[in-house]
């Protein structure tokens, strides 16, 4: 019997499914299915609906507005949302900014920011990486200097996912230049409409736009926008990145993708006939499924710790490594199955030779080259495991 098979969990799954059936409209599903770069308006609308039901942030503690679920409920919810192709919402607010503010923010900050993440009214972006501080994040150069009652920020940030429609940024900036580089960093909330901020789009190899570069020229931020203690930004960033890595394992979405991959194989088996290498496809699907169940089992252990109040810690790096590798293997396999249909970026399926489920894999494949790089490249994750867990 599966660990998800207890009667109360079955009832819970049915409740989630019922809600999704009732509220998820076809336009939301279609855009989620087709797009890697979703529009803010639709995501906000869906977030508001979830929030009305009390499910705005399943992974937050109940005191901060979470529903008080255990890890299996949280996982079932995320899985059903993935199966139903519901929009992911503002990942940066829900998974990064929110939990950091819950852990480190003042009472005023919690009151100011958390409700609007839950309701979908405000979207966030992350100002961490810089052109010369990617993997080597601690060497970042953007500075924040106190001038009267305001912090004045100067510098440059890059790889801002959703930066072009975010309202707020959590920004890591240097507030001290002496001592170890890690000890002079602080976290700030920056309103993206503040004068002095210039945004530039960065197009990725799937020809989509979801990341941006941003420039700060004497950007003035109220003094109270410092999160937590001055010069403690690095340790908050480490916790934040560990939480991000649990989410980056993307287990529920990958489960959905693997099932979609099997449907793709079914379709191609019919349309390609003997030209389709069925033995290879079945073996590959089985192997991917095996590695997925290994990943999922490890994810559930970490979620259990997280949902009972602990931080995931450095072991989250194992989930990020294996989860991101698996995401890439899924699209690689899809392209392998598709053959020449996989080298057309916007294939025309009007002739009816290939079914619609063959669509979109090439874009996903190219965009996903990034998943082993972002949130700390997998090489950085290996160093974290070696240093923090294995003490090597």
């Amino acid at each position: 019997m599966s660990i998800f098979d207890a009667p109360e969990l079955r009832a819970f799954r049915a409740e989630v499914r019922g809600f999704l059936d009732e509220h998820l409209t076809p336009d939301l599903v279609e855009e989620t299915r087709a797009g890697l770069h979703l529009k803010r308006g639709r995501m906000a609308r869906w977030q508001a609906m979830l929030n009305q039901r009390g499910w705005g942030a399943p992974h937050w503690p109940a005191a901060a507005g979470g529903p008080g679920w255990n890890e299996l409920q949280r996982y079932i919810f995320e899985e059903e949302c993935a199966f139903a192709d519901s929009p992911p919402g503002d990942v940066l607010g829900l998974f990064l900014a929110g939990p950091m503010i819950i852990a480190e923010g003042s009472a005023e900050q919690k009151e100011r920011y958390l409700p609007r993440i839950l309701s979908g009214e405000e979207f966030w972006c992350q100002g961490f990486s810089e052109p010369n501080a990617g993997s080597d994040l601690a060497s970042l150069k953007t500075t924040a200097v106190l001038d009267g009652d305001e912090w004045v920020i100067n510098g440059q940030k890059t790889w801002l996912s959703s930066g072009h429609y975010a309202d707020l940024m959590f920004c890591l900036a240097r507030t001290r230049t002496d001592g170890k580089p890690q000890e002079g960093l602080s976290q700030f909330v920056v309103d993206m409409c503040t004068p002095g901020i210039t945004l530039q789009p960065i197009y990725t190899m799937d020809e989509g736009h979801s990341v941006n570069a941003v420039f700060f020229d004497d950007v003035r931020v109220p003094r109270e926008n410092l999160i937590g203690k001055l010069n403690h930004g690095w340790s908050y960033a480490k916790d934040l990145l560990a939480r991000e890595r649990v989410n980056n394992a993307q287990a529920p979405r990958t489960k959905r993708d693997i099932l979609e991959l099997e449907r793709l194989a079914d379709t191609l088996r019919n349309s390609y006939g003997p030209a389709f290498d069925d033995v290879w496809a079945r073996r590959r699907l089985a192997s991917i499924t095996m590695d997925f169940v290994g990943l999922e089992s490890a994810v559930l252990k970490v979620l259990a710790r997280q949902m009972s109040g602990g931080e995931p810690g450095p072991v989250a790096s194992t989930l990020k490594i294996r989860g991101s590798e698996l995401q890439q293997r899924v699209t690689e396999t899809a392209l392998g199955m598709l053959g020449n249909a996989g080298i057309v970026l916007t294939p025309n399926y009007g002739e009816g030779f290939l079914a619609p489920e063959a669509k979109g894999w090439a874009q996903r494949h190219f965009f996903r080259r990034v998943v082993t790089i972002y949130a700390g490249s997998n090489e950085i994750q290996k160093t974290i495991i070696a240093k923090s867990i294995l003490r090597m």
Binding site: M1, S2, K255, S287, V293, K382, T383, A386, I389, M392
Partner: protein, 357 residues
């Protein structure tokens, strides 16, 4: 009553102590070539400590401690590369006692002992009269054969799938040929010439043979989890202290990254083993959706990972006396017995596995 986590810790502590005090790996080093044998009296000690009754139901005088507990104990036995066939006993004694209630007591006391043959293409059923019959043919190496009083033998029958036969070790139609497994554990191959058997399934339902093989596979997963953990810990310790180029090997980034990758595999192996234990406890009669994944993982991921631990250890990692090579060889046994990685891979598919799990 299933053991709570505190009781389980006490059991595992006791197991650690007993394994460290009795017939340790170091004591066995000198006798590799003769095989890793269980010491006389060892099984009686296990019976006295109550281990042999752990998975038997309370109604049959057992502790009904839960399979998650049994798996944790088997992982501990794997860590110590134990020669006693605890896995066969803990996973299969309940199945035998359920069909033959009189066997519960002798099984718990260690008087009746099981050996469990893997599926063999060379087995032939000769004659059936009700639940009795005869077998001819032979098997591959049988774990637990050295001291077995009875053998469990899965038999493929085209009309009813896999049945399960019980053969007494002293049956005149049975001959045994001692062999060593690749990790030096003592085993034996069986040859049947019209050996008398008793079918352990009612009226020819073909479920019992497959069930026994799946229970054996669960034991192999637990053993492998312990072996992998121990091999990792041993290598980790070695890399921290072995100096080359004027600094510990563990200071080399190439070594660090390889160990980090192996650590990822280890986390998944341990999580799969725990999840499987929960599944078996929640539905002892099956189906366990994680079984094929976990068993396949042993052969396709854990084995390769431990091979990499040998690579990281350098020359010492291939020597006969170094414990790591024994872990690697023991893992080969765990990967192979009761369903190979390939046979379990064939049972995995996205819909069948993911929607069930």
């Amino acid at each position: 009553m299933p053991m709570n986590s505190e009781e389980r810790e006490l059991l595992l502590d006791a197991a650690e102590r007993w394994f460290k005090a009795n017939n340790t790996f170091e004591d066995r080093v000198a006798t590799f070539r003769k095989g890793h044998h269980e010491q006389p009296g060892a099984w009686d000690s296990l019976a006295e400590m109550g281990w042999l009754a752990l998975t038997l139901p309370e109604s049959a005088g057992g502790f009904e401690a839960g399979y998650a507990t049994a798996l944790a104990l088997l992982a501990c036995a794997g860590k110590h590369a134990r020669p006693e066939p605890l896995g066969v006993h803990l996973m299969l004694c309940d199945l035998v006692a359920l069909r033959l209630p009189d066997t519960a007591e002798p099984l718990a006391q260690g008087v009746m002992r099981l050996g469990f043959a893997d599926l063999s293409p060379r087995i032939e059923r000769r004659l059936d009269i009700g639940l009795q019959g005869t077998l001819s043919g032979g098997t591959g190496p049988v774990w637990g054969a050295e001291f077995a009083t009875h053998f469990l033998v899965p038999v493929m029958q085209s009309e009813s799938g896999l049945r399960l036969a019980l053969v007494a070790a002293d049956d005149p139609g049975l001959a045994t040929a001692p062999v060593r497994l690749v990790d030096a554990r003592a085993a034996a191959e069986l040859r049947f010439d019209s050996a008398q058997i008793q079918w352990l399934d009612d009226g020819g339902s073909g479920a019992a043979g497959q069930r026994a093989l799946d229970l054996g596979a669960v034991a192999m997963v637990a053993d492998a989890a312990g072996v992998f953990q121990a091999a990792f810990d041993l290598t980790h310790e070695y890399l921290l202290q072995r100096i080359q180029f004027g600094r510990p090997l563990s200071a080399q980034q190439a070594v660090q990254h390889k160990m980090a990758e192996i650590f990822c595999d280890l986390q998944q192996m341990l999580a799969l083993e725990e999840r499987l234990g929960m599944e078996v406890d929640s539905a002892p009669a099956g189906f366990w959706p994680t079984l094929s994944t976990a068993k396949c993982f042993v052969g396709r991921r854990a084995l390769r990972a431990v091979g990499q631990l040998i690579q990281l250890s350098g020359g010492v990692g291939v020597t006969e006396e170094y414990k790591l090579t024994h872990y690697y060889r023991r893992l080969h046994v765990a990967a192979s017995l009761y369903g190979t990685a390939e046979s379990h891979l064939a049972r995995i598919g996205p819909r069948t596995t993911l929607l069930a799990a």
